[in-house]
Assembly symmetry: C2
Homo-oligomer: 195 residues x 2
């Protein structure tokens, strides 16, 4: 893919993110996305199969970028406990930095039944895999309980992060201070895992 077409694709993804956030996934029209991206309607179909496909590619783009950042952030932590705290903090700081994008991938994405029922989010599994790896690391070094299941704990933590994120987005960011949420959730899981 040439630089120019990569630009165009990114422009479409950015315009689609804004459009989905403003109008919702169902009400958003391809023609509106094209207008915002300043491309012809037909151009969109050179890069994407349909609206679901745009949404899924927004998700993949976000996870990919986020994945690299979080790997770097976690690497700075010392102990497995500290790294889990980093992971949680980083999640919420991303939410604060990109609220529209996060709104699209947490609220609108669930409205794509293609995504909910068929899509296998491999990159997202890699992202969550960071957590189970940290738990296994902590168990190996004796700081975390042997009887904590890394897979279930990883899903439980993800549930906590995404639930609080959705609530924050739905209540127009007023109900909770996200940094406080991050410290609270990190503390719960670190203590909950401690040997």
């Amino acid at each position: 893919m040439t630089n120019r077409s990569l630009d165009k694709k990114e422009r479409i993804l950015e315009a689609a993110t804004r459009t989905f956030a403003e109008k919702g996934f169902f009400n958003a029209k391809i023609s509106e996305i094209a207008r915002q991206a300043e491309v012809a309607d037909g151009t969109i179909y050179l890069y994407f199969k349909n609206k679901d496909d745009i949404l899924i590619q927004i998700f993949e783009y976000m996870v990919e970028r986020h994945l690299e950042n979080i790997r770097q952030a976690v690497a700075k932590g010392g102990s497995p406990e500290e790294k889990i705290r980093m992971f949680v903090r980083h999640h919420f700081s991303t939410v604060e930095k990109f609220p529209k994008l996060v709104e699209v991938i947490t609220i609108e994405l669930r409205q794509s039944s293609k995504f909910m029922k068929e899509y296998v989010p491999k990159k997202f599994f890699n992202y969550l895999g960071i957590v189970s790896d940290l738990i296994i690391e902590g168990q190996a070094s004796g700081v975390f309980r042997e009887d904590a299941d890394p897979e279930i704990t990883k899903q439980a933590l993800w549930g906590s992060l995404s639930e609080v994120t959705v609530l924050w987005l739905k209540t127009r960011k007023k109900r909770f201070d996200l940094q406080t949420c991050g410290e609270q959730i990190a503390e719960l899981y670190i203590r909950g895992l401690r040997a």
Copy 2:
């Protein structure tokens, strides 16, 4: 409302639950729900405004029934720790008992943007309020940490329960044993909250 019309309404709610679970919220047709409930299409509009309204009433009906059961189950627990374990266990045993209903209210409900953006689930707040009350009770009796925020912790726990539930439903119940999930999650939060 007479007994007979209450029957009819319940029959429609049950038929709608089956239809939503089988076809998905978007593909489900009012006429199909009417056929399954053995009522005329028009009868449905005597009780419900539209498809979103049926879905929301399924949710309310479920929460109401569940709320009473869980209050009784939690009342049997002794310490606040034990009561939190009861709450978690009860959640997953309900999921195991009513998988179709739970599928509709966890997966399909999110596809109703009316529900996601406008509906204020007061009864559901009462249900979650059980958790924050238990945390406050535990803090008062000195078993839980004073610095744990009951509101954030309640949302975090709810996120864990619903995330694992969705995963269990999506993976056709094979990936996790729900009872193990319940014990794992209860243990995490009880230890995480402990003073």
